[in-house]
């Protein structure tokens, strides 16, 4: 009997083609759209390209109809609220910059959806991520970069567990975006030219400051801008409005460009520095997760990405302490941001990663 796979279908082109590819490879494919959006008032126009919302369900159902596969909607609202939205809000309030996609992948897609899929008799779950799953000679599973670097999404998948990876397929990782659109068009899928989803799916207008205010029910607290020596140099509108490395919107005039270098939630201060202050040599990360390797070692050399769009920089593990890691970069890196992930690679393979807590 052919293996059963649940494909998480967002209604977008990538997951639609993933479903098609798996069916063509002989899998028994079941399409599932995850209902994660919270109640939206009737009459709100949905932005095209988002992965949430009722129109996503309709698009996914149409694609499933064309492919001739069953399609279901599964409700993950509660877990999404708890593991993604609440986390997102708490991180901002703690002066960090969260990555909600990583949290969603780890706890919603690869925990809740996977469990539900195994329940209904599936062997695997699959998504339209531009990344590959491979089994290594050492017997471990790992995420590898997409064959085509431009769209690579391996960064946001670094903390999947071995158990989760053993039940995961990612067929889109073998292709380039243009090829995926081509396949969709050839199969008559109406989503072939749907715009890419952008930004944060649960904040369709991309105004995260408004979203935070609505979620918490309060305005951010004003506080002081301070320079790197601690002198007060102005008033800020609330630390949740700033990220490390930010230059625009500070409303400070010094005759040279200034940047946010640190957020201090305890004292409600935003630290301002010069361009060079945004560059650091080292960082500390926690919740170290091992993927391709069973464990990391002090002195280990590898490539590290400190944000999704980062090209990556060689670094060395200086110190390991439980699930804490301290790494030093070969060359200074810009805007190390607490709350973001640092992901380690060996060539194309994800070795693991952790959550940045501070730059050093």
């Amino acid at each position: 009997m052919s293996k059963k796979v649940v494909v998480g279908m967002s209604g977008g082109v990538d997951s639609s083609v993933a479903a098609y590819l798996l069916k063509a490879q002989g899998y028994e494919v079941i399409g599932v759209t995850m209902e994660i959006w919270q109640k939206e008032p009737a009459g709100i126009l949905e932005k095209e390209g988002g992965c949430c919302g009722l129109s996503a369900v309709e698009d996914a159902k149409r694609v499933a109809g064309i492919l001739g596969i069953p399609h279901y909607v599964m409700n993950f609202r509660d877990i999404f609220q708890q593991k993604v939205i609440d986390y997102f809000v708490q991180e901002y309030q703690a002066g960090r910059t969260p990555n909600p996609c990583i949290a969603c992948n780890r706890f919603v897609k690869w925990e809740a959806l996977l469990r539900r899929s195994l329940e209904i008799g599936a062997d695997y779950i699959a998504t339209g991520h531009y990344a590959c799953v491979k089994k290594l000679p050492n017997g471990r599973y790992a995420i590898a970069r997409s064959k085509f670097d431009r769209k690579d999404q391996s960064y946001a998948l670094y903390n999947l567990t071995q158990e989760q990876l053993s039940h995961t397929l990612m067929p889109a990782g073998e292709y380039e975006k243009e090829q995926i659109r081509c396949i969709a068009a050839n199969q008559g899928l109406q989503v072939a030219h749907k715009p890419d989803s952008q930004d944060i799916c649960f904040i369709p207008d991309n105004d995260y400051k408004r979203f935070l205010e609505e979620e918490t029910g309060k305005k951010p607290c004003e506080g002081n801008f301070v320079d790197t020596s601690g002198n007060v140099i102005g008033k800020h509108s609330g630390i949740t409005n700033y990220t490390i490395g930010q230059r625009k919107g500070l409303n400070l005039a010094f005759g040279y460009p200034v940047f946010v270098t640190e957020l201090r939630p305890d004292t409600n201060e935003v630290v301002i520095g010069k361009a060079e202050d945004v560059y650091v040599d080292a960082l500390e990360a926690v919740q170290l997760h091992c993927m391709a390797v069973e464990h990391f070692e002090e002195g280990q050399r590898m490539m590290a990405k400190i944000r999704y769009a980062d090209k990556g920089q060689m670094c060395t593990i200086e110190k390991l302490e439980g699930d804490k890691v301290f790494i030093v970069f070969d060359q200074k890196v810009r805007a190390v941001t607490p709350g973001q992930a640092v992901v380690f690679y060996q060539e194309n393979t994800v070795l693991g990663g952790g959550t940045i807590i501070r730059s050093c």
Binding site: V57, P70, M74, I120
Partner: protein, 395 residues
């Protein structure tokens, strides 16, 4: 999948063959607009009035009290918004229950935003609305009471006659959403003191997109759909002649078969309920055991997700649902199950099966056997069940 076992007749039903046969001429040769002057329009006109007569007779109403609409939701919207607008002078208070269909609840919420005040009555653990509670909620400014005839999720039949009496005693307009009841159980608008009643054709083997609102003679109601002079100038829009012919034929058929179908469905329903409650541990029947639609089964299985069960039943060719099909197809804890006092996590694990006259005992044996296997599998994978078993052992 060899056979499809369709157990979602509360969502919609198959179109009766005899209904389709009656409709066919009005889809092809008699396509005239009944409002037109020429003789060709006469056949359509007569067909519309014949259907109206059949429906009126089924309710104990007069022909002119039946107004065709686009379906149950439109009828509910019309009744509520129309009464609210027409009676604004008298007051702005409406009484309804917490377990109404969303066509009523969301309309009430809309009216609240327009400045009306709505009392949402609680129900008991079986989903019954108390006529005394209805009466107690009536105020001088109450303009409308809207209580459903039978609940779409748990099948509970409300004490409509008693509620109608209470409404009549206080001179308050009484609307009932009878979408799940009409065509399935006897209704007499006169005896039950009903002023407004909503129904929908596709719930009893008629076509989709056609329904009606019964408006008792003399009841003031603003129009919802404005335009031409159809339906005595109260509901505009070219008559959906094939739909109207279809709903008429479906009512005729439903009334003829009602007694026989009720007996048959009740026997199979009770057989299936008994088997499930006996053979599946930690299962609970929702809704009243006797004041219940003949075709409704609604059961909660603890420690499992209703969603997974529905998918696994589907994989075996069994169409069932959880609560209502009127959302995006996904499961939120049902407002009805929450209203009868079920905790959030149990309200997630409910299964609704609604039979038709064609459902057989053999069908239900296959379904119950499938449910047993599915529940066992899901519980074997459920962390909740594992915890429960552990804590039981410790005690």
């Amino acid at each position: 999948m060899d056979k499809l076992i369709y157990l979602d007749n509360a969502a919609t039903t198959s179109l009766g063959q005899e209904v389709l046969d009656e409709m066919m001429p009005y889809l092809r040769e008699n396509y005239s607009n009944p409002s037109s002057v020429y003789d060709f329009a006469q056949k359509s006109k007569k067909a519309v009035e014949d259907a109206r007569g059949i429906i009126a007779a089924a309710l104990g109403a007069k022909d002119r009290e039946i107004y065709f609409t686009g379906g149950g939701s439109e009828s509910d919207n019309w009744a509520l918004k129309g009464a609210a607008a027409a009676l604004e002078e008298k007051g702005k208070h409406i009484i309804t229950s917490k377990i109404e269909h969303h066509a009523v609840l969301h309309t009430c919420e809309y009216l609240e935003r327009q400045g009306y005040e709505v009392t949402y009555l609680d129900v008991d653990e079986n989903g019954l609305v108390s006529p005394e509670a209805v009466e107690a909620a009536i105020r001088p400014d109450t303009i409308l009471i809207s209580i459903m005839f039978a609940n779409n999720e748990i099948g509970t039949i409300e004490p409509i006659e008693k509620i109608g009496e209470a409404a009549a005693r206080h001179g308050v307009l009484f609307h009932t959403d009878a979408v799940q009841a009409f065509g399935h159980i006897p209704i007499d608008v006169e005896k039950m003191h009903i002023d407004l009643l909503s129904a929908s054709g596709h719930k009893f083997h008629g076509p989709k997109g056609i329904g009606f609102l019964y408006i008792k003679d003399g009841v003031k109601l603003d129009s919802l759909i404005h335009g031409g002079a159809q339906e005595r100038s109260r509901r505009a829009g070219t008559h959906n002649v094939p739909g109207i012919v279809g709903i008429g034929a479906a009512v005729q058929s439903a009334m003829q078969k009602m007694q026989a179908n009720t007996e048959k469905e009740k026997a199979i329903r009770d057989y299936a309920i008994d088997r499930i409650l006996k053979e599946v541990p930690y299962a609970r029947l929702n809704g009243d055991r006797t004041e219940r639609l003949p075709n409704n089964i609604n059961i909660c299985f603890r420690f499992i997700e209703g969603e997974s069960m529905l998918i696994m039943l589907d994989q075996r060719g069994i169409c069932a649902s959880s609560g209502s099909a009127c959302t995006s197809g996904s499961l939120d804890p049902s407002h009805v199950l929450l209203a009868i006092g079920l905790p959030h996590e149990i309200a997630h694990g409910s299964l609704r099966m609604t039979l038709s006259g064609e459902t057989t005992k053999e069908d239900m044996d296959y379904v119950v056997d499938s449910i047993k296997q599915i529940v066992e599998r899901l519980r074997s994978m459920s962390p909740l069940y594992e915890d429960f078993v552990k804590s039981n052992k410790e005690q």
